[in-house]
Amino acid sequence: MQLPLNLSRAFAAALLATTAISGAAAQDFDWKAHQGETITFLANNNPWATNVLKYKDEFEALTGITLRVDTYQEQQMRQRLLTVLNAHSDEIDIFMTLPSREGRQFAAAGWYRDLKSYTQNAVSPDYDFDGFGSALVEAAVFDDVLTGVPLNIEGPILYYRKDIFEKCGLGAPSKLEDLPEISAKLKECAPDVTAFASRGLKPALPYTFSNFLHNVGGSYMKDGKSNLCSDEGKKAIGLYANLLKDYGPPGAVNYSFYQLTSLYREGRAAMSFQSSNEFPAVMEGGARLEDTALMPLPAGDGGSHPTTIGWALAVSNFSSNPDAAWYFVQWASSPEMQAKLALEGIAPPRNAVAENAGYKAWLSEQPVRQEWQTALGHLADQGTSEVGYPIIQNPESREHIGQAVDAVLLGTSTVEEACAEADKQLNALIERE
C-alpha cells in the first residue's frame, strides 16, 4: 500500500537532501548547453499544459532548443504514449504522467528515466528542487526511481452552497457519517436542487470514492488480498452509493468531472464532491463566487485521509535527447513558471509559491479562493495518493471498484453481493500480477 503522504516525508527527505550538495553544479549551469537540439513533448490537453505552452517561445529563446508539442486529450494521450513506449521508440522525449495511476506500471516496465541525478547535477541556481512538497516527490518515486517532477497538487474537495445551507438551518458537515442526514434535510428543504453530487462513472469514481474508503478507516488491500468486503469497505460502498442513489442527480451513474462542474456551476447542486482542479471552471462566470464554501471531505470514523495526487513531468527512458528533455522539465517546473501558473488557478506543488506575494494577493481577492488554498493545504498535509489498488494493474482495479459501487447505485446488487464480486475479480487480478 502507498504510504500516507505525511508519513512518507522522511523517505523523500533523503532525496531532497542530496540536492543540497549540488550547489557547485548549479553554478556551472548553462541554459544554452543543448542549443540546436530538438525535443518532443507529449502533452495532456489540460489547464497546466495549455498555460505552460503559452510560454513555449520563451523556452526556445532561453535554451535554443526546438520544442515540438503533441497535444491530446488525456485518454488519447495515454494511448499514444502506451504505443510509443511499448515499442521502445524515441519519438517522445517528455510526457505528462499521473504517478498515482500508471506510475507503478511504467516504472516496472522501465519506461521512466530516473531523474534523481538530474535534480542533483543539472539544475540552474534558482531551481530549488527542495522547494517541492516532499509528499508529492515521494508519490513519484517507485523502486527508488524518481519518475517525474510534480506539476500541481489536486484532489477531491467538497463544494457546498452556503446560502442553501443557511436557508435550511444547516451548518457545514463535520462528520462523514452525517452526510446522509444532511442530504435528507437538504432534499426536503430545497427540493429543486440536487442535495449531493459526486462521480458515478465507473472508471472515474475511484478518485472520489477512495476518500470515503480511507475516511471510514478502510483500505483496498490487506495481507495481499482485496479488502473491499471488510466492514469498512462495505460501509464506504454503501455510504457512497446510497448518497448518490437517494440524494444524487438523475443519471449520476454517468457523472464525471464535466457533469459535476456543469451541475454545480448552474446552481443545481447543494453539495458537490469534485476535483480541486475544477475550481476555475466552477467559478467561471462568477455566479458561484459569493455563495460557495469549500472544505475537505469531513473526517470519518477512520480520520481524515484526503485523496491527493498530482500530474508529473517525466522523461522517456528511450529518449535520444534526455539531457535536453530535462531542460524542458526544469524550465516548466521552475519556481518562476509555477508562480505564473498559480495565478491561473493551478494549485502549486511548491510551498514557496503558495507563500508568493502575487499569489497571496490573488487569493485574498475572494474568500472562496482562500478556502480553496486552505483545503489544498489539508490535502498536502494529510493526503494519500492511493486511488485504486497499489498494483501494476491499477487502472483495471479501478474498473472493478467502479463496478461494485455502480451495482449498488443502480440497485442491481446489495453491498454484500457487489463487494464479494469485486473481491473475487480483484483477487484474480492480484494473483495474475
Partner: protein, 294 residues
C-alpha cells in the same frame, strides 16, 4: 497470335504490374500487415510491463469463459439490429419523400442529409448535452409537455435504444441517399404499366418498388453493417460503455482491454474475433445481394 504481339504483351504486363505496385504496397503496409500482426499478437500474452510470451490459443479459450465477452456480443448484436432496422425503414421513407418532392429547395435537401456530415465526436458531445438528465433540453421538453423525464444514457435498460436513436438520427440520411440513387435508376415503364392496370400506391410500392430496390437496400445494409458492428466513437464519447456494462460493445471492450488495461494479447484476440464477425456478415450479405440482383 503472332510472335511480335507476344513479345509486346510481356513489357506491357510488366509496365502494368509496375504501375499497380504502389497500390499493392500500400494495401500490404496499411491493411494486410496490421491485420496479420494483430493475429500474431492474439496468440501472445503481453503483460502491462511489456513482457511477451507465446500463449497459443489461450486468449481465445479465456474469451469463451469471459462474461464480458458475451455481454459485448449481446450489446453489439442488439445495437446493430435495432439501428439497422430503424435506419433502413426511415432511410427508405426519407428517400421516397425526397424522390417525390422533386421541387424541394436545395437548402432543404441539404438540411435533410446534413447530420451524417457531422463528425461522430461532435454529434456525441451535442447529444450528451441534450440528453443530460438534469440540465438537458430533452427532459426539459418532456417535462414541459407533462411527461416524465428519462435517464436516457444513464439508464441500463434504455441506453442501447438511446444510442440507436442517435445513430439513426445521424445515418438515416446516408441510407436515404443510397436508396434515392436506387429509386432514380428504376425503369419508369414498370410504373406506367402498373398505373394503367389501376394498381394502388401501396400496391405499387409493395409489389414493384420494394422488390426492385432490394439490391440497393442490401448494399446500404452492407455499408451500415460494417460501421454498426464496429460501433465505437459515439459510445466512447457518451457513456464509455456504461452504465455498468450496458453499452459495452465488443469493440469498446477490446479497446479498453488493450489501451486502458494494457492486455494487448487478449485485446487482439477480441479484435480478431470482431473482424471475423464483420467479415462473415459482409460475405453473407454479399451473397444475399447476388440472389436479389435483377
Amino acid at each position: 497470335m503472332s510472335a511480335s504481339t507476344t513479345t509486346q504483351k510481356g513489357p506491357l504486363a510488366a509496365q502494368l504490374a509496375a504501375l499497380s505496385m504502389p497500390a499493392v504496397l500500400f494495401t500490404v503496409a496499411m491493411i494486410a500487415f496490421p491485420f496479420c500482426y494483430t493475429i500474431w499478437l492474439s496468440f501472445q500474452s503481453i503483460s502491462p510491463t511489456g513482457m511477451t510470451r507465446f500463449e497459443g490459443v489461450g486468449n481465445y479459450v479465456r474469451m469463451v469463459g469471459d462474461d464480458q465477452f458475451w455481454n459485448g456480443i449481446y450489446v453489439t448484436a442488439y445495437l446493430y439490429l435495432l439501428s439497422l432496422f430503424l435506419q433502413l425503414v426511415l432511410g427508405t421513407a426519407l428517400a421516397l419523400l425526397l424522390f417525390r418532392a422533386k421541387k424541394l429547395p436545395g437548402i432543404i435537401r441539404s438540411l435533410f442529409i446534413s447530420p451524417f456530415m457531422m463528425p461522430p465526436v461532435v454529434a456525441g458531445m451535442m447529444w450528451l448535452v441534450i440528453l443530460d438528465p438534469s440540465l438537458g433540453a430533452a427532459n426539459y421538453i418532456l417535462t414541459s409537455l407533462g411527461l416524465p423525464p428519462s435517464a436516457w444514457l444513464a439508464s441500463p435498460g434504455f441506453v442501447v435504444p438511446t444510442l440507436a436513436l442517435i445513430d439513426t438520427w445521424q445515418w438515416t440520411p446516408y441510407v436515404a441517399l443510397i436508396v434515392l440513387g436506387g429509386l432514380q435508376s428504376l425503369p419508369p415503364s414498370v410504373y406506367e404499366a402498373a398505373e394503367i392496370d389501376g394498381a394502388s400506391r401501396f400496391r405499387i410500392f409493395y409489389r414493384i418498388t420494394l422488390p426492385l430496390l432490394l439490391p440497393t437496400l442490401v448494399t446500404a445494409t452492407v455499408l451500415r453493417s460494417v460501421d454498426l458492428l464496429r460501433f465505437f466513437d459515439l459510445i466512447y464519447i457518451t457513456t464509455q460503455g456504461g452504465p455498468a456494462n450496458a453499452s459495452t460493445t465488443l469493440n469498446i471492450y477490446g479497446f479498453r482491454t488493450g489501451f486502458e488495461f494494457f492486455q494487448l494479447g487478449y485485446a487482439s484476440a477480441l479484435m480478431v474475433t470482431l473482424s471475423v464477425i464483420v467479415l462473415g456478415t459482409v460475405l453473407v450479405l454479399n451473397r444475399l445481394r447476388n440472389t436479389v440482383a435483377w
